[in-house]
């Protein structure tokens, strides 16, 4: 081939050479369905565990203690299953490194949360997780959420029975952010994320409080044989608890929304720019 010919060919697009590198796509439909079912089921277990203390039959003689142990075990199980599921589908070296670095960054943010001006209850970790989930997809968001909680628990010595709840819940924050529609207008997308962030900030507090109130409540509802007004006691306690913690939760929601509003657009731009590098297509 002469130099000139080669240069001419140079200008024309090359034939695909790396097609064999594409992942095998057998049973894609079934896989997708199974994966969806796993997420739905795990989510369902989470919800049941959450509302269980309200609906459990009073006649049962089991204690809140064993209930708590059971919910922790079940949630850990769900978490493990989802991680196995997500890991297999979304992970390569680029994603691993990016996740690692972003998780570290968010964990550091959480670590300095008292440094960011804001009243109690405010936490800066939701905004980055929502943004990452929205831009990089729900699986990335899920991993980022769960691992951020895990890493910050590890570095602050905060490993405890509450950790699976936190990991699970924040994982869902990132996961659901990935489900939001990709809007063409950046501003519209930002407003959507702001609303989304507010809701999750609020919801996270409610969920974590609901999880933790049986701890705080102890066995009041069950250990007392007469069963006098048990349901009422539970409800009153819960109502009071939610009322008092609502202030905190609203702060968290508003804080997340404000953070997204102020820093959302440039961050989204930076992440979107990076996304092209993250997910190149081999031609």
């Amino acid at each position: 081939m002469s130099k000139r010919e080669r240069e001419e060919e140079n200008a024309a697009p090359f034939a695909p050479r790396l097609s064999h590198l594409a992942p095998r796509t057998s049973h894609l439909g079934l896989r997708k369905w199974l994966s969806g079912a796993l997420f739905a089921l795990a989510g369902g277990i989470g919800v049941v565990a959450l509302v269980w203390p309200f609906v459990r039959p009073v006649s049962q003689s089991g204690t809140v203690g064993t209930d708590l142990v059971l919910t922790v075990i079940l949630l850990t199980l769900c978490l493990g299953v989802l991680l196995v599921e997500v890991q297999g589908q979304a992970v390569n070296a680029k994603v691993v490194a990016t996740l690692g670095v972003l998780v570290a960054l968010t964990a550091v943010l959480r670590f300095i949360e008292n440094a960011i001006p804001g009243p109690g209850g405010f936490s800066p970790i939701f905004a980055p997780i929502i943004l990452a989930g929205y831009i990089f997809g729900s699986r990335f968001g899920f991993l980022m959420g769960t691992l951020t909680m895990l890493v910050s628990a590890l570095i602050t010595g905060g490993v405890g029975p509450w950790l699976p709840y936190q990991m699970f819940t924040v994982g869902w924050v990132g996961l659901t952010a990935g489900w939001l529609p990709q809007l063409r207008s950046a501003r519209a997308a930002l407003l959507m994320l702001v609303a989304f962030g507010f809701l999750w900030g609020l919801l996270y507090g409610v969920i974590i409080n609901l999880y933790s109130w049986p701890f705080i409540m102890g066995q009041a509802a069950t250990s007392w044989e007469d069963g006098l007004g048990v349901a009422e006691g539970v409800q009153r306690y819960a109502a009071f608890y939610l009322l008092t913690s609502l202030v905190w939760d609203v702060t968290r929601g508003v804080g997340t929304a404000v953070l997204l509003l102020v820093l959302g657009l440039p961050t989204m731009r930076a992440l979107t720019r990076f996304q092209q590098k993250l997910s190149f297509t081999n031609e």
Partner: protein, 353 residues
């Protein structure tokens, strides 16, 4: 900004663990679980105080000095929790016979007779919370982060690497944050409002992402991902689904039909655990300098299990106590008390292997 909170030297210490031999982290897990169950079950303030003391004894003996960075004062925190808990319960729970005072019935939520029993119950419940917290604080201080990371199931090799990368990059990110803060201060930037976080967060984020790319490149160049078989097969997915379904069904059914439901729950849990374990066996990853199981680890497991085992053989066990409906002194059995003190058994083991 709070200077101390992001001082770059603060976090290094977390990652410096001495190579001196430590106990196997699984031994500590056994101790943790047994003690947690005991704290939840033995709801008698006298026993709870014993357990709290035992936990503190073990911590005193085995804590790693470099894990101390984030201690909150247990005593101050405990006092606040117990007081608040007593106050809450006093206001919220209308049970008990020793009436202290009465609030008008028309007040929502908190109206009615306020009893000493309710306050006492709240306080003792607060004590349980504090003890649980003390237990986990002790665990966090005894076991170094690097050992905790090793508990990551083999079925999650990539997630494990993410975790390691993140832990490596936490101090790195802190240093970087400090640099960016200085660089922006040089440009006359002062942080007065949230908007001014932009020049701080963006270089940190973009720099981090760029670094992530070169890190990924370095990992790939060193063969990362060559032998990964992490993608779950359809069979595995189905198995996990069935396992979770069984666990959920069993849990719900257990409430109504008793043991059959619990059996189903156990089966579901076992299935999931077995599947995840089997998936882990497919991973080819090996471990550098695997830590052998030592005799001392067995001693730790025995020590951790001892209170639970012996409790099974104490007749007429009366662990729970409630001040309702009328206050009585909590009962105290010497045998039970001594047995619970076995929680402190690991404190008898040598500090280092």
């Amino acid at each position: 900004m709070n200077k101390k909170a992001i001082s770059p030297t603060l976090l290094y210490s977390l990652f410096i663990t001495h190579s001196a031999m430590r106990y196997d982290v699984r031994g500590w897990m056994v101790w943790l679980l047994v003690t947690a169950v005991l704290i939840m079950v033995a709801r008698n303030p006298l026993y709870t105080i014993l357990l709290l003391l035992a936990v503190q004894l073990v911590k005193k003996r085995h804590y790693q000095p470099e894990n101390q960075a984030f201690q909150l004062s247990l005593w101050r925190f405990g006092l606040v929790v117990i007081t608040l808990s007593a106050l809450f319960n006093l206001l919220m729970v209308p049970f008990g016979q020793t009436v202290l005072f009465t609030l008008p019935e028309s007040w929502p939520l908190i109206g009615g007779a306020k009893t000493m029993e309710a306050a006492l119950y709240g306080a003792s419940n607060g004590l349980v919370l504090v003890t649980l917290l003390a237990l986990f604080m002790a665990f966090n201080q005894i076991v170094p982060v690097s050992d905790l990371v090793k508990l990551m199931p083999r079925a999650l090799p990539d997630v494990g690497v993410v975790l390691l990368v993140a832990l490596t990059y936490v101090p790195e990110t802190q240093r970087h944050l400090q640099q960016v803060r200085e660089a922006q201060a040089i440009r006359g930037q002062e942080i007065r409002s949230l908007r001014q976080w932009r020049p701080l967060i963006l270089p940190l984020l973009i720099g981090g992402l760029e670094r992530a790319m070169s890190l990924a490149e370095a990992m790939v160049a060193r063969g990362y991902g060559s032998l990964q078989t992490t993608r779950p097969s359809i069979g595995l997915q189905m198995g996990l689904l069935v396992g979770l379904l069984a666990a959920l069904g069993g849990w719900l059914a257990g409430q109504y039909v008793g043991w059959a439901g619990w059996l189903l729950l156990a089966a579901g849990v076992s299935l999931v655990v077995a599947l995840v374990w089997a998936q882990g066996q497919r991973s080819v990853r090996t471990v550098y300098r695997p830590r052998p199981w030592r005799l001392a680890d067995s001693w730790l497991v025995l020590a951790g299990l001892s209170p639970a085992v012996i409790l099974l053989f104490v007749p007429n066990l009366q662990l729970a106590y409630t001040p309702y409906p009328a206050f009585t002194w909590p009962p105290f059995s010497i045998i039970v008390g001594l047995t619970l003190m076995l929680v402190a058994a690991p404190a008898l083991l040598p500090r280092k292997l």
